[in-house]
């Protein structure tokens, strides 16, 4: 199937103007393929026919005869499907947030974690592990709650502190983000040091993963991530304007300060929800936007939706690899797969690639 898709897609991909359409079609097909692959694979073998039957019967409501055990159905419907969909949503969110932060800060090294979200979330999670409090709201524990608040809180503090600096807004944001991030990282190190038996839990969070996915968690996080991502996509024009520099953006009629604050808030919301669900998974938010830009150019109207698509695909594949390799951390897979792929693309990139 994929060969046929490639044959159809190749001429379209060769034509630079039609390339985005080809990429979108190829991406949509790939997304479907990885969805099925992701649901079919796992530590317990469920026959491919049964997997398909369960999906058709339970999701599409088709009258497929039941040839499988209830346990197989639970595994496919309640464990694997929410897991794959969560990976998709988180991958989508991190890629969109990556595009947003790179454009906003006009910095190719920016990623969703650059303004302190990662350290804030990690510190929040670590504190939750140390606190002898157990709560469970919508299947989310204190860890997820504090990680979410920590991520948002860190960005808020960075934003407020950066406003009082005399430096240019972008430089100030980046440097403040770095400083606050370092401070929070020190707090995290201290929390890990005193956590005793909780260290494993903190470590597991730092490495990230989707093994704890459930429908309820997905239903809570997905509206946040997807909603904020759509709001970002709607503001693609403002993001394009900001990419050209503040003065040009202002000439184009973009309210620079307002748009920057809104995009920063939305990007942070997406990131915070993603890290609360899945822990800290690196590289997707950094690499996917660059890959897409190398393919279709810097227009945010194209880069945002295509990054969302490829972020989702990459994350499901990474999670699949992580599962097949015996539940290794997803973050390791995203880096191992993403880095060489990115290097190849950089080698083949035309001169003059810019954000």
């Amino acid at each position: 199937m994929s060969a046929a898709v490639l044959r159809t897609a190749a001429p379209i991909l060769a034509d630079r103007r039609r390339r985005p359409i080809g990429l979108a079609i190829a991406g949509a097909v790939a997304l479907l393929v990885v969805l099925v692959l992701g649901v079919a694979a796992g530590s317990v073998a469920v026959a491919p026919g049964d997997t398909l039957g369960i999906l058709l019967q339970r999701i599409l409501g088709l009258p497929v005869p039941t040839t499988w055990t209830p346990a197989a159905e639970t595994i496919v419907v309640d464990l694997r499907l929410p897991r794959v969909l969560t990976a998709m949503v988180v991958g989508l969110g991190l890629a969109v947030a990556g595009v947003t932060f790179q454009g906003l800060l006009r910095n190719p090294l920016a990623d969703p974690y650059v303004l302190g979200t990662a350290s804030g979330a990690a510190l929040g999670a670590a504190i939750a592990v140390i606190l002898p409090v157990r709560t469970l709201v919508l299947e989310f524990g204190l860890l997820h709650g504090l990680a979410f608040l920590g991520a948002l809180g860190a960005v808020f503090v960075v934003y407020r502190l950066s406003r009082v600096s005399g430096l240019s807004p972008l430089t100030s944001l980046l440097l403040t983000g770095y400083a606050v991030g370092s401070l929070l990282a020190a707090g995290l190190a201290m929390a890990m040091y005193v956590s005793g038996a909780g260290l494993r839990q903190i470590f597991a969070y730092l490495l990230g993963g989707f093994d704890a996915a459930s429908w309820l968690r997905l239903a809570t996080a997905a509206p946040l991530i997807l909603g904020a991502s759509i709001f970002i996509a709607v503001r693609a024009r403002a993001l394009n304007g900001l990419l050209l520099g503040e003065e040009t953006a202002a000439h184009l009629g973009v309210d620079v300060r307002r748009e920057r604050a809104i995009l920063l808030g939305l990007g942070s919301l997406v990131t915070a929800a993603a890290v609360a669900v899945s822990g800290l998974i690196g590289f997707v938010g950094l690499v996917v936007p660059h890959v897409v830009r190398l393919l279709v150019g810097p227009n945010a109207r194209l880069v945002l939706p295509l990054s969302a698509l490829f972020g989702a695909i990459l994350m499901v594949l990474a999670d699949l690899a992580a599962r097949l390799l015996g539940e290794i951390p997803v973050g390791v897979v995203t880096a191992v797969v993403g880095a060489p792929f990115f290097l190849v693309l950089l080698r083949r990139a035309r001169a003059g690639y810019e954000l």
């Binding site: 796992g42 317990v44 464990l79 694997r80 157990r134 597991a204 093994d211 459930s214 309820l216």
Partner: protein, 326 residues
């Protein structure tokens, strides 16, 4: 219930009440509901179905076990030992990885969890109807949430001291619908521990350092941990630390142990290596050569073999004491 037993159906509620009056603390808020408490009439001819067991686990979660569990998954090594010790071993279908496995009957059980994580898919595929999980993050809290979300009863246990270790055995017993066997086991254990402790009450109490590990820091037992309690019962004054399990070399030197017990021989510790460590050579135990290996599993694992742990400690600390036959 697959094998209804009339006698047991009548006995269970009674045993629960006995257990509830036990000395081991407040985890037993569980009188089975649904069955009226029977009078002691042995004339039952109709198979009375005992009601669902409702219990409170060590995290304070109320767990309802509606039917006698037939497919139990044990996610802590101590729970595996306990389930086999109370005669529920034939109903255990999977276990956590155990690098010092016990009992041998559990050797062939499929492993569904390791130090790194738990395979929820496999637990579901085994159609587990009871999971005993470890608290304090030993089993990832997310896993517990996930299993409970799939309507699999999960009982979370974590024992810090001797009382909670015994209470956990009784709790696991109730969860596995083998409360009477568990109560018998803990009563025997209490009697054995008391008998052994009595042997050392009048003996001098040497300062003992129990070494859990020395990988990048010196680890020993916290003051309220089960190993510290056993060391006291064994007639010694343990050198302990706080909940971090870490003790500084300075504090250890200042405490000057008279006996050093090596619970980490599995990771290569020997008396010679200890004596050669910089800074350790002045300790009384090192000067006198009183450094002995002990079996750390029976001393630190809060399971049914804690009596063996106490015996091992007494033998190491007071070698002249004659232990009663087992």
């Amino acid at each position: 219930m697959r094998h209804p037993s009339n006698l047991r159906a009548w006995l269970l509620p009674v045993i629960f009440l006995i257990a509830a009056c036990g000395t081991s603390g407040g985890t037993f808020a569980n009188v089975p509901t649904g069955t009226p408490a029977p009078s002691a009439s042995p004339t039952a001819t109709v198979a009375a179905t005992p009601g669902p067991v409702t219990l409170t686990d060590d995290e304070g979660t109320t767990v309802v076990i509606a039917e006698e569990p037939q497919k139990i998954v044990s996610l802590t090594p101590a729970a595996t030992e306990t389930l086999f010790a109370i005669g529920a071993g034939d109903r255990v279908v999977a276990k956590v990885q155990d690098i010092t496995p016990y009992p041998p009957e559990a050797d062939d059980l499929p492993v569904v969890a390791t130090f790194d994580g738990t395979d929820v898919e496999k637990i579901v595929a085994l159609e587990a109807d009871l999971v005993i999980a470890g608290g304090l993050g030993f089993t990832k809290p997310d896993v517990v949430t996930q299993l409970r979300g799939l309507d699999i009863p999960v009982v979370v246990v974590y024992a810090s001291d001797l009382d909670t270790a015994l209470a956990d055995i009784e709790l696991i017993g109730q969860a596995a619908w083998a409360a009477d066997e568990a109560a018998t086991l803990t009563a025997d254990m209490r009697a054995d521990l008391d008998e052994l402790a009595a042997l050392t009450t009048d003996l001098p109490k040497p300062r003992v350092f129990y070494e859990i590990d020395t990988f990048n820091a010196i680890y020993t037992t916290p003051d309220d941990f089960v190993a510290a309690e056993l060391l006291r019962l064994a007639g010694s004054e343990p050198i302990t630390t706080d909940a971090s399990y870490v003790i500084s070399l300075e504090k250890l030197v200042a405490a000057d142990p008279e006996i050093i017990l090596l619970g980490d021989t599995a990771s290569g510790a020997t008396a010679e290596l200890v004596a050669a460590r910089p800074g350790w050579d002045g300790m009384t135990a090192v000067v006198n050569g009183d450094i002995f290996p002990v079996d750390d599993v029976v001393i630190t694992r809060p399971g049914p073999r804690l009596v063996d742990g106490l015996r091992a400690l007494i033998t190491a600390i007071h070698p002249d004491v004659v232990l009663p036959a087992r």
